[in-house]
């Protein structure tokens, strides 16, 4: 135990001894996240659209509704799933869909009356994921177009070519976005939180390169021989590295998010305990990943080049640069096997998706499983190398 504590203490001393490196480890992700937050404002995502998956809650069975549902079905820009209201609310809250809309019972008849100015315009209630603003805007347009077409087709038996933009004020229905003012704030929050989560994960993964380099340097300097001559097992030496890497990683994340909270106005909208747990899980992942890199690298130069590339790929695929829902479906499936995806999604869940402790723990659990896998592989590989 004494050796383990000393291994951890030494690594923290080393980290603090090189103050400029410690500051850079925190300042770089903070700088990038702040820059992206300022440049992108409240928005996030790209301009390119694949079919947008929206959720429909249909309580009406009028001819109007049947007609516009057919139109939605034929629209190649949308992919509509039908759910209950409770399911739709949950999916929108979790960001599984950018938009869910609710067609209440009697909507078709009310719309036809409104068209003849015989009744007030009925509302289509929408539930949106604030982080997916572009997807929300685009899908709303296609939905408005389809509903309007359905109403006019039913009323006159003719097809109307209506532009979704600018036509809403003359339409016989309204689109009602729930808690509009709050959502605007949530959009900004979500965007900032995602950027900080992504950059923070990228930051600790870059720190993992230092863990790898220090282990390889220990080998080059003969310190590894000295450690091996001591009455300490390889597993203890590696566990010490993971523990110190985790402590430094948590401290780094703490500084990054502290800046986010104090300067950029970030908030934890989900579970605070979940947020802390996910920060620890991300740090364990980074430290274990560092060990794994060290176990496969022979020289510092070779390992540094390889690990920078891998960290950039992990960051990109994990959604650190842009949200993973903007990726093609096949890539989203692939990224389920990318540990950083779970790391970023877990922080997202705790920060702005209002994830409960249990919801965040799911992400933390998977993140830790990846960490255990990396640590196990590193341990096996280093022991195999020693045995040669």
């Amino acid at each position: 135990m004494r050796a383990f504590i000393e291994l951890v203490r030494k690594d923290i001393r080393m980290f603090l001894a090189d103050r400029s490196a410690a500051i850079i480890a925190i300042a770089v992700p903070v700088g990038i996240a702040s820059f992206l937050t300022m440049v992108m404002g409240g928005s996030s995502g790209s301009q390119e659209f694949k079919p947008i998956g929206v959720v429909a809650v249909i309580e009406d069975d009028s001819a109007v509704t049947k007609t516009f549902l057919k139109k939605l079905d034929n629209d190649k820009h949308l992919r509509v799933e039908f759910k209950t209201k409770a399911e739709a609310e949950e999916l929108a809250r979790k960001g599984k869909t950018p938009l869910a809309f609710i067609i209440h019972k009697g909507f078709g008849d009310e719309a036809l009356k409104a068209l003849k100015h015989e009744a007030a315009r009925p509302a289509v209630r929408t539930l949106t994921d604030p982080s997916q603003r572009l997807a929300v805007m685009a899908s709303q347009g296609y939905i408005v177009k389809a509903i309007a077409g359905g109403i006019f087709d039913t009323a006159s038996g003719e097809s109307h070519d209506m532009s979704p933009s600018g036509a809403e004020s003359t339409l016989p229905f309204t689109m009602e976005q729930e808690a509009q003012e709050k959502d605007t704030d949530q959009e900004v929050q979500a965007s900032r939180a995602h950027i900080f989560a992504g950059m923070a994960v990228q930051g600790v993964l870059f720190y993992a390169i230092n863990v790898a380099m220090s282990l390889i340097r220990d080998r080059r300097l003969g310190i590894w021989k000295r450690l091996r001559a001591a009455p300490v097992s390889i597993t203890t030496i590696l566990a010490g590295r993971v523990a110190s890497g985790t402590i430094i990683g948590v401290a780094t994340l703490f500084m990054i998010f502290l800046f986010g909270f104090l300067v950029m106005g970030l908030r934890i909208n989900g579970s605070i305990a979940g947020f802390v747990t996910q920060c620890v899980a991300c740090s364990v992942l980074a430290a274990s990943f560092g060990l794994f890199v060290a176990s496969i690298g022979k020289t510092e130069e070779q390992s540094r080049g390889l690990s920078v590339f891998v960290v950039l790929m992990l960051s990109m695929l994990g959604g650190a640069w842009f949200p993973s829902f903007l990726m093609p479906d096949w890539m989203q499936s692939v990224t389920l096997f990318v540990p950083s995806r779970w790391a970023v999604d877990g922080l997202d869940s705790a920060l702005w998706r209002q994830g409960t402790l249990m919801e965040v723990l799911r992400f933390s659990g998977v993140t830790l499983l990846f960490a255990i896998a990396f640590a196990f592989l590193a341990d096996r590989r280093i022991k195999a190398t020693e045995a040669k």
């Binding site: 000393e6 291994l7 090189d18 021989k225």
Partner: protein, 307 residues
């Protein structure tokens, strides 16, 4: 105290250590001498418990030393050839770390650190980062890190590589002080002068095998002559002519350019012959010296230690 028994270590098809055995007595300094690639580092890797032998065993006070034999490992200190220290940390912090690796903390660690810093003469610089140290100071601290847990045996792998003569002497003084305290030293080097100064018992290694082992005097006796001397001439022709006369008087000589070398057991008689020939063929200068381990190695293997 420390017994190497039929040690064999192979790397693939290459046999680095081939059936090496020796016995190091308590409180002695045992020198393992050989050129680069002789198998010294692999041998001490097994002695320090870093490497598992393919066959054979290492016994320390009757207990087998293996990579996982922690109670035996606690009695062994290891000083690698590299300066195995953290440059960013102070000497004190480095020693605290290595003491911790052997489970020491608190007052025991503090007093041990103070003691080894005194031995290597770095007590007054203990707070400075190691990167500020000279090469010689780092070497001394490297030794201190191997000593901090008060081992019974200290294994040193070429501890003076790249060190200036002054620092080398400081290291030798420190090692002699340790030996006087009863610590057993196992010292590998390819500098025969170091072994000649420090070691009571010497094993000469070449190509993975021990080619000779014994005290300095017993190794010198392996050579046909105890002394050698060299004469310098004004020209190679004079040297060759002198050599012809010397051979006809029964001396075994070698000529290289303008220099003539000979080995002898009876220095006085040889000098008499040389003086006689010198009256006819004058030489410019002459020097004599005892045979060295370098010559012993050359005699045994046909190679130079620095090859």
């Amino acid at each position: 105290m420390l017994i190497a028994e039929n040690l064999v270590r192979r790397y693939g098809s290459f046999t680095a250590v081939d059936d090496v055995s020796f016995n190091v007595g308590r409180g002695t300094c045992f020198g393992l001498l050989g050129p680069n690639g002789a198998g010294k580092t692999s041998t001490i890797g097994m002695l320090a418990g870093l490497v598992t032998p393919n066959s054979g065993r290492v016994l320390l006070e009757g207990k087998q030393l293996l990579p996982a034999a922690y109670d035996v490992k606690r009695q062994v200190g290891f000083v690698p050839q590299e300066i195995a220290l953290y440059d960013e940390l102070s000497a004190q912090a480095n020693l605290e770390f290595f003491a911790g690796m052997y489970g020491l903390d608190g007052q025991v660690a503090t007093s041990n650190i103070a003691r080894v810093l005194e031995i290597v003469g770095l007590a007054d610089r203990k707070k400075e980062p190691v990167r500020n140290y000279s090469g010689g100071m780092k070497r001394r601290l490297n030794i201190a890190a191997g000593l901090v847990h008060q081992p019974k045996v200290l294994i040193l792998d070429e501890p003076t590589v790249g060190v200036d003569p002054q620092s080398r002497n400081a290291i030798f003084d420190a090692l002699e002080a340790l030996q006087s305290e009863g610590i057993t030293l196992l010292y590998t080097t390819h500098y025969m002068e170091e072994v000649e100064r420090l070691c009571d018992q010497i094993a000469i290694m070449d190509a993975g095998k021990i080619v000779a082992e014994g005290t300095k005097d017993s190794l010198y006796r392996l050579l046909p002559a105890k002394n050698s001397f060299a004469l310098q001439f004004a020209s190679p022709e004079s040297a060759t002519l002198f050599a012809d006369h010397a051979k006809s008087n029964g001396l075994n000589v070698r000529v290289s350019e303008s220099e003539l070398e000979t080995d002898t057991e009876d220095l006085a008689a040889t000098l008499q012959v040389v003086a006689e020939i010198g009256k006819k063929i004058p030489f410019e200068s002459m020097n004599t010296h005892r045979v060295t381990l370098e010559q012993v190695f050359l005699h045994l293997t046909g190679k130079s230690l620095r090859d």
